[in-house]
């Protein structure tokens, strides 16, 4: 079991409020991703759940039990740190065995559990090595191994992939998702990368300036963002926002349209503009178009589109996929 409930959780450092009145339900076995720009408080929120920081006010319940004042060790959670935080003086075996040793497990039980974890994570050949003799990906796997041996109620991941190179990041992303399917344990994952959030999460929690902006499944957030912040944060490339005359036509203070919901044409369309930078990715082309009277709009075309810098182009937003926002930036 591993359900986690946050009730009006707040945290301030001195007079600076970092987290203000956050309430959230995480059910057992869920993969929840906290996402937001740097400084939004997502790591602090994770550290509050872990018990590494003390709450200023509010309560945290794990499986219905109030753990607000409990030390990290008593919460039965495991954490994977951004820096891996492996014990440099211990072998891979020693690192993975450490939580079991602290729990006072029998030597033979430790041996068996470490071997099991090593097999799952492809670390069996490296058990005698020291962390410094491993690559970044292997170190991350050791950190995950150390987290899974204790069979915690939930795993906490604090930007675990941001120190890895792009290719490895994609691999590890898949491995962590795979691990979640195998273990069926609650996972809370912090990242600033919305692609990680979209691909891994059952439920995404978008944070901004210490508050929750929206909670929902990846596609919920993509289809119906609650406000301009979420709309701009989820989806890549970012949603285009248009204000003024052109948004009035759609009876909104501002409209938002995703690059993939704009039709391109050389002959006719609603907006006219000049092609700026064209990014050819092979499968897609992202065109940055300087639209007359509006400004820069990003539009997605198919991979083999034949448009180049300086050419004139027509854009038509798909009205069914248009997002309308009022003056406060709330979706209408």
């Amino acid at each position: 079991m591993g359900s986690i409930v946050l009730q009006n959780v707040s945290k301030s450092f001195g007079s600076t409020s970092v987290i203000s009145a956050v309430s959230l339900d995480i059910s057992d076995g869920e993969f929840v991703v906290f996402v937001g720009p740097s400084g939004c408080g997502k790591s602090t929120l994770l550290r509050l759940i872990a018990g590494l920081e003390d709450l200023t006010s509010g309560r945290i319940l794990i499986d219905g039990q109030d753990v607000t004042g409990h030390a990290p060790a008593r919460r039965q959670l495991s954490m994977v740190f951004q820096s891996y935080a492996l014990y440099p003086h211990m072998s891979v075996y020693g690192n993975i065995a450490f939580p079991l040793k602290m729990a006072g497990e029998d030597k033979r039980v430790i041996e068996r559990k470490v071997q099991d974890a090593a097999r799952i994570l492809n670390l069996s050949d490296y058990l005698n090595r020291k962390p410094r003799q491993l690559s970044g990906g292997q170190r991350q796997r050791v950190a995950i191994g150390r987290a899974i041996v204790r069979q915690p109620k939930a795993f906490l991941f604090d930007e675990p992939l941001s120190n890895l190179d792009a290719a490895l990041r994609v691999n590890m992303r898949l491995e962590i998702s795979e691990l979640h399917h195998q273990l069926q344990t609650t996972m809370i994952y912090v990242t600033h990368d919305q692609v990680e959030a979209m691909t891994m999460a059952d439920k995404i929690v978008v944070l901004n300036a210490g508050r929750i902006e929206q909670v929902g499944t990846p596609l919920d957030l993509y289809r119906s963002p609650a406000n301009r912040f979420v709309a701009g944060f989820i989806g890549s490339p970012k949603m285009n926002f248009v204000e003024g005359q052109h948004s009035k036509r759609y009876k909104a203070h501002a409209i938002g349209v995703r690059p993939e919901h704009i039709a391109l044409s050389k002959t006719q369309g609603e907006w006219q503009g000049t092609v700026g930078v064209a990014e050819h990715l092979g499968s897609d082309t992202f065109l940055h178009v300087h639209v007359d009277e509006i400004g820069l709009i990003t539009a997605r075309g198919d991979g083999e589109i034949d448009l180049h810098h300086g050419e004139r182009v027509y854009l038509t937003p798909n009205e069914a996929r248009l997002h309308r926002f009022n003056e406060q930036g709330i979706a209408q």
Partner: protein, 276 residues
């Protein structure tokens, strides 16, 4: 990218390196050579370098005139004692400053360092009077106390910089893994800090061993360490170069040997934090 060094440059740098090394080592070498000369040869002008009648006479005489072993044991007691007491005080202090700093931590550190900027002679009279009133003059315990306090700022600073290098994440990981504070320190912190503590111990022993101002002023006979032993040979009745050299050689030999065996540790300790 590695910088390219031609063979000629390499040779040049090697020669310069050796020259500087020999230059720095020369006083010690000269002391060593002089200790094997007779008093007459020792003050000969022009000086004799290697070709003289080597003699151990100075060493016998030094040992006969003043008890080397007693001074040696005093030096050991004072330097090891003050290091041990200093560590017991400094380790908790440095832990607190490195891992639970307050807004005033930097000020405390600077204040501690500022005590080292005060000329020692400035506080000689008050300290001498305190020692006299508390019957600590010429006692080993008094010197251990004095040297502990004198070197404490350096020990705290060194340990603080060492502990600062230990990432907080690792300690937090241990906490998440279920380690109590005691286990966290024993299994995770201590093993990682051992090199730092070791080099701090070494440096402090050397500093305490060579400390002359306080040891000369606060001791007379009973607690006099090797520094006082050397000083007794530059007496007003005349300089005895050869015997002074023999005494100096005997005094620096133990610490030289200790330093030789631990030089790697020491260099690492002194340059720690300078390069990552």
């Amino acid at each position: 990218m590695a910088r390219r060094v031609s063979a000629r440059q390499k040779l040049l740098f090697t020669v310069i390196g050796w020259a500087i090394g020999l230059f720095l080592f020369f006083p010690i070498l000269w002391t060593l050579l002089t200790s094997f000369k007779t008093e007459g040869v020792a003050i000969a002008s022009p000086p004799v370098f290697l070709f003289f009648d080597w003699t151990l006479e100075n060493y016998w005489e030094v040992q006969a005139r003043s008890d080397y072993l007693r001074h040696f044991l005093n030096s050991v007691t004072i330097s090891f004692g003050s290091t041990l007491v200093g560590l017991l005080l400094a380790i908790p202090a440095a832990w607190a400053m490195a891992f639970a700093p307050s807004p005033r931590t930097k000020d405390v550190l600077m204040w501690m360092l500022s005590t080292k900027m005060l000329p020692a002679v400035g506080v000689l009279v008050p300290i001498y009077l305190l020692f006299r009133d508390w019957n600590l003059l010429d006692t080993r315990i008094g010197l251990v106390m004095a040297l502990t306090l004198i070197n404490l700022p350096i020990i705290v600073w060194m340990l603080y910089t060492y502990f600062k290098e230990i990432p907080g994440d690792i300690l937090e990981a241990a906490r998440m893994d279920g380690a109590s504070l005691g286990k966290e320190i024993f299994y995770v912190l201590a093993p990682m800090a051992v090199p730092g503590i070791a080099s701090t111990i070494l440096l402090n022993i050397i500093l305490a061993w060579n400390e002359a101002f306080w040891t000369l002023n606060l001791t007379a006979a009973d607690a006099a360490p090797l520094t006082a032993f050397i000083a007794s040979y530059s007496s007003p009745e005349g300089l005895f170069w050869a015997k002074l050299s023999a005494a100096s050689t005997l005094a620096i030999a133990p610490i030289l040997i200790l330093g030789w065996f631990s030089q790697r540790q020491l260099v690492r300790g002194l340059t720690f934090g300078a390069v990552k």
